[in-house]
Subunit: 159 residues, 2 copies
DNA sequence: GATAGTGGGTTCTGTTTTTGAACCTATGAT
DNA sequence: ATCATAGGTTCAAAAACAGAACCCACTATC
């Protein structure tokens, strides 16, 4: 399978990864969530090749995850901002951050902490069931055919 | 910045991505969560180059996300299984699955559904604050220095 | 009005990664 | 003796990436 065919799979994971699953995109999005919006600032903070950055920003914009917003005329300048679709990727980053904090930090602890403004506490994400509120564990889930799976297709995928 | 330097960054996102952030790893892990355990089966289901598959399984094993378990002698054979560390990546997949279901499915709906055995309902994950229980939104979070950040370091990262 | 600076790119060259196919090894089955 | 199976390794060609140089529209300065 080639990477460009991924978005045609009947699997939401494969489709999501066709947008955010390459080597740089989630780091670009990390900067977006930290309110970085301009080409030069992305480049300086990430140390990414300009050419790759231009490509990622273009693809994220085409995918509707970012939008370009003009912030001045003469000369015309635009900045990149998260759309609603982009903001909703936050749980993905949060899950990766919490996992890294727990499993990849040294004995001193995690390099950065996230504080929930609303309650004032340092917080991790708890992933609960939208129906019953219990914490979701991999081995408590089953997968079944959904409405978007054509009748003849094998169930290939999903966690 | 080169990819091999990623794991040395003072950012749990960068560190997590140094393990799961390349083109195939999360799809390999999808199969693991679906209880795929053998080389041939990974290859057939994913359509991945054998060579790349061998590399990813090796790296995931070295990272402690999978472990090799013998399942027969003469000839000696081993299968790959998720460790505790690997099982705890489930929220990452779940977040990507839910996002793909919501934003990338056609008008018919998502290709597959996940049912929570414990309550019997089709479910999405809700990401709540471990301290107050409220849903976590990107714009309600602040980032601050943690114990694992050396004193002289700039705060570079995290969502 | 020539020169330099800034933001946001594109082009070029060389190195790394990925793909797809072929090959290898130990064992067991016909 | 030959074939099949699980789990790989080796090779050539294609794609992606890194790093540096270049480009363009405009503004600010001498």
């Amino acid at each position: 399978m080639r990477w460009e065919e991924l978005d045609r799979e009947y699997c939401s994971l494969a489709r999501s990864l066709s947008i955010v699953g390459d080597r740089w995109t989630l780091l670009v999005l990390r900067e977006c969530f930290l309110r970085v919006r301009r080409f030069e600032e992305f480049e300086q903070r990430l140390g990414i090749a300009r050419h790759v950055l231009a490509d990622r920003l273009k693809k994220l914009t085409e995918a509707g995850v970012l939008r370009k917003e003009p912030y001045q005329e003469r000369p015309h300048r635009e900045e990149y901002r998260l759309t609603e679709k982009g903001l909703e990727l936050y749980p993905v980053l949060l899950a990766l951050l919490d996992w890294g904090d727990k499993w990849l930090a040294g004995p001193e602890g995690p390099p950065l902490l996230r504080r929930h403004k609303n309650c004032g506490h340092v917080a991790q994400a708890v992933h609960t069931c939208s129906a019953c509120g219990e914490e979701l564990k991999a081995r408590d889930m089953t997968v079944e055919r959904g409405p978007g799976l054509p009748p003849a297709t094998n169930e290939a995928a999903s966690g």
